[in-house]
């Protein structure tokens, strides 16, 4: 059961982080690369060719972008902390059980 729980946790971690990236990111990131992406979406599924013909302006560190980035980082970090606490407690429990069993022998 534990193994399944670990697998579920990892999957949940990824789903949530992916969802966070989708939901939170688009506002800010579009400032940077929005025009290129909409271009690639509109035309054909070959972004590299389109990209090379029309290189976007270099990064434009808008305040919005960095704010969203900080937000995403925060969300992902929180998720990781949850996972880490779970793993850490599991590790401790396993170590304790191992010790008990060797002592019983």
């Amino acid at each position: 059961m534990r193994l399944i729980r670990i697998a579920c946790m990892i999957a949940a971690f990824c789903i949530i982080s992916a969802a966070a990236v989708i939901v939170v990111l688009p506002d800010g990131a579009r400032v940077c690369a929005g025009n290129v992406i909409s271009d690639a979406r509109g035309n054909d599924p070959a972004p590299q060719q389109t990209g090379k013909s029309a290189p976007p302006e270099k990064e434009e560190p808008a305040a919005d972008t960095s704010k969203t980035l900080y937000r995403v980082t925060g969300v992902v970090l929180v998720i990781w902390t949850g996972l880490a606490i779970f793993l850490f407690r599991l590790d401790r429990k396993v170590s304790k059980l191992e010790k008990e069993i060797t002592n019983l022998k």
């Binding site: 193994l3 992916a18 690639a40 979406r41 992902v76 880490a84 396993v94």
Partner: protein, 228 residues
């Protein structure tokens, strides 16, 4: 020695946040895709770890089958664990990959050869778990499961290398078409490397933890009085 390995595995608790911060805040956005490209620092390491996990499970199965005198114990269980981790990571790879595909190609799924081959890999390993479920309680479980894992590992190169070569692929960076790599500067490379290392350490840590739990379960099953 054991202590050092233990500390090295525990370093995942530090490495992972560092990776996350580096990926989102330190590395510059890529030229073409902007901040969306930051998903690469998760997608590539996940893919790498899933292949690593499958290869490890295959190699452990080979050793299990050749090990007639039972010098190593529980190798079939270990290869099962590794395949389980690999499957979970593959699912994550598919998800991050399809998000990226949505952002850069316009749809979550468009049967690019690389997407096709990862679906094949996913199905093969899901079938492995079906087989293991069907064999539950049989003494031949370890051998048949290991044989299937070896067949599965043997087909991996066909999926990873050959199919994308036969059919033209949009996927940017693979091992074979290096020339089509997107340009990455040093900071990005360093971030990617850190991510690779920390995900590999995460894999080793999880693998070790699962094996220890498996051994514990086995022992508790043997000595019912030690259970509580």
């Amino acid at each position: 020695m054991k202590h050092v390995i233990n500390i090295a595995m525990k370093s995942v608790y530090v490495l992972m946040p560092v990776t996350i911060v580096m990926a989102f805040l330190w590395a510059p956005p890529a030229e073409l895709l902007g901040d969306y490209s930051r998903i690469i620092y998760f997608h590539v390491p996940l893919a790498w770890v899933s292949v690593l996990a499958f290869v490890v499970s295959g190699i452990l199965s080979v050793i299990f089958l050749l090990d007639k005198k039972n010098r190593f114990s529980g190798l079939d269980g270990k290869s099962f664990n590794s395949a389980a981790i690999g499957l979970a990571f593959t699912v994550c790879t598919v998800m991050t990959g399809s998000i990226w595909a949505k952002l850069s190609w316009g749809s979550f799924w468009n049967w690019d050869p690389r997407e096709t081959s990862i679906v094949f890999i996913l199905l093969i390993y899901i079938a492995y778990f079906c087989l293991q479920a069907a064999l539950a309680g049989k003494s031949s479980r370890g051998k048949i499961g290991s044989s299937y894992l070896i067949v599965a590992m043997a087909t991996l190169p066909f999926f990873v290398f050959l199919i994308p070569r036969i059919v033209w692929s949009l996927h940017p960076e693979t091992i074979i078409n290096v020339n089509r790599t997107i340009y990455m500067d040093d900071q990005m490379w360093i971030t990617l490397l850190t991510a690779l290392i920390s995900f590999s350490v995460l894999y080793v840590y999880l693998f070790n933890l699962m094996n220890r739990i498996m051994v514990l379960k086995h022992r508790i099953g043997e000595h019912p009085h030690a259970a509580d």
